[in-house]
């Protein structure tokens, strides 16, 4: 399996040989930031295209197919349109918070994006409490959403933001609980070690019996709610609240929310495939060495992307099947069903691990 750190350490050494240490770090930071932003933009566009096509297919339509082959250029045009639109600034809003909110949302989503393990050694943020860091940074997004609703001085925005607050904070509990369940199994919180373990011993979704499978499903449900996507799209339910918390945003300020929404979906899928499906780890069956070697030829980032898109397929499928819930139904689902289930899963997983029932 190709180790990306060979390339990064070579680059580091090459830069160090021509410039002082602090400048090396600066240059590397800029390079990494550029890399993240480019990937972020590209994946947002891919996601928007995939979503539009998928929803069209579910609804017996063809989706965008006019601009470019199979409508592929359509998204690029939409992005350009968004970039050139006027940013309207409104009277009687809290200007500072109004301008700050989209940046909080997009920063939170970009930072969590940086946690994803793309390949062996190709990880931007990786340290021993990676999972906690991921959860903590992810929660900054909800602050941005609340500020957006508060600063806009608009009742739709405020209602949307309040709903988002109630919903995201509730579902974060299940996400945390499910993550803990899996940490019981992994024994580490660093994403690189989680992937490494799975590359050696098989994916956790198989190693953790049905407990891991159930945890995977709970994670998908809660993750979808975290991303504010239907059936949990109450915060922006267009039939009641115009556009929810981003009603008053225009131009690229709105674009940030749009980007963040799609990227959060990508991140949710990426996290699910890292923790349950092995991240960049190829599909291995312990004992079958020939098969494992063939699988190892496929590069890690391909594995990662294939898994991410598989999980994305599940998420989109579910998003375009179910109708939007009411706020009380959303909270009932979380507090009466998902939290008890995830607590039970945590206990079961702890039992399994301590009794040595896992692989």
């Amino acid at each position: 399996m190709f180790d990306f750190s060979v390339f990064t350490s070579w680059l580091d050494a090459a830069l160090l040989s021509v410039m002082p240490g602090w400048l090396t770090i600066l240059v590397e930071c800029v390079l990494v930031a550029l890399g993240i932003i480019t990937l972020y933009a590209i994946f947002a566009m891919v996601m928007i295209y995939v979503e539009r096509k998928f929803c069209a297919f579910v609804q017996c339509r063809l989706g965008p197919d006019r601009v470019g082959p199979w409508g592929t250029i359509q998204v690029v045009c939409d992005v350009l349109k968004m970039l050139t639109k006027e940013i309207v600034s409104l009277r009687k809003t809290d200007r500072f918070l109004h301008a700050l909110a989209p940046f909080l949302v997009v920063t939170a989503s970009m930072t969590t994006f940086a946690c994803l393990p793309w390949n062996k050694g190709a990880q931007i943020l990786d340290f021993n409490v990676g999972v906690f860091f991921f959860l903590a940074i992810g929660s900054i997004g909800v602050v941005g959403i609340l500020l957006a609703g508060w600063s806009a001085n608009n009742k739709y925005s405020l209602i949307g933001a309040m709903r988002a607050g109630a919903q995201i904070i509730s579902y974060e509990l299940s996400i945390g609980m499910v993550m803990l369940t899996m940490i019981c199994l992994t024994g580490t919180m660093s994403f690189s070690e989680i992937c490494q373990n799975q590359a050696e011993g098989g994916w956790y979704i198989f190693r953790g019996h049905f407990v891991a499978l159930a945890a995977f499903i709970v994670y998908l449900i809660a993750g979808n709610a975290e991303c504010n996507r239907g059936p949990f799209d109450l915060p922006e339910s267009e039939s009641e609240l115009t556009a929810g918390y981003h009603t008053e945003y225009s131009g690229m300020d709105f674009g940030f929310y749009y980007l963040a929404e799609y990227l959060n979906l990508f991140i949710c899928a990426g996290m699910a495939s890292t923790i349950f499906l092995g991240g960049w780890a190829p599909f291995v069956i312990p004992g079958l060495d020939g098969f494992n070697e063939v699988m190892a030829i496929i590069p890690g980032f391909v594995w990662f992307l294939v898994k991410v898109f598989f999980v994305l397929f599940l998420l989109l499928w579910e998003r375009w099947t179910f109708p939007r819930l009411r706020i009380d139904q959303i909270l009932t689902l979380e507090w009466k069903y998902l939290i008890p289930i995830s607590m039970l899963l945590l206990v079961l997983m702890a039992l399994c691990v301590s009794l040595g029932l896992t692989f």
């Binding site: 609804q59 017996c60 339509r61």
Partner: protein
Amino acid sequence: MANTSYFAGLIGGIKSLCTGLGVTFRELWTPKITERYPENRKENHIPERFRGTLVMPHNENNEHKCIGCGICQMQCPNGTIKVETKMVETADGKKKKQLVRYVYDHGCCMYCMLCTRACPQGAIEFSPEYEGAVFARESLFKVLNQPGSKCVEKPARPAAAKPAAATEGAKPAVAQPQTADADAAKAKAEKMAAAAKKAAENAAAARAAANEAKAAAEANAADTALQEAWKEAEAKALKLETAAKNFAQKAAEAAADVK
């Protein structure tokens, strides 16, 4: 109990969610119904009943069915149709209307189809022809009857049948002209009396309904729908009462005739 229904609800919910997922998964692979319009112009499928434009079908002899009565023009809420007619004298010396130009303003039509429903001859209908775009407003005015076309001659139907029946009935009429007349008058009087009775019944029912509506409307003065209903019922009752009166008068006249 609470526990069983909690778990029953959970399992039932999961089952129904899976059913939904199954439906959408199958839908993913079904052929899509989108028409890629300009490319598939040739084979584009437009449903038969689609209301594209108004047409007046002509048969192979360049004949249409329009008799120029102008009912469609009166029915049209948008003033879309102009029926231009002239009076002509037929071979047997009768005056008859004839269609000159049937002008349809496509730009004004809202495709409500009131005209085709109202036409007593079934002379006009909608065709699914949908490419209605033109470069000038004037091109939207279309003359629907083809140049040189004329109205189909009807086979002289009941008009021919009636005299035959009359000649058949003429025999007894010749034998007893007096009784036949008296019988006819009596039958007519009976019929009229029955009609008058029926009309009176109808009027009474309508009056009762109107009174009821009035009571309801007065009880809820704020409800405009009720007020409307009352007005309507009132108008209906008045109309029926007048009709009943007319019938009663006619019945009386017929009875007088018998005597």
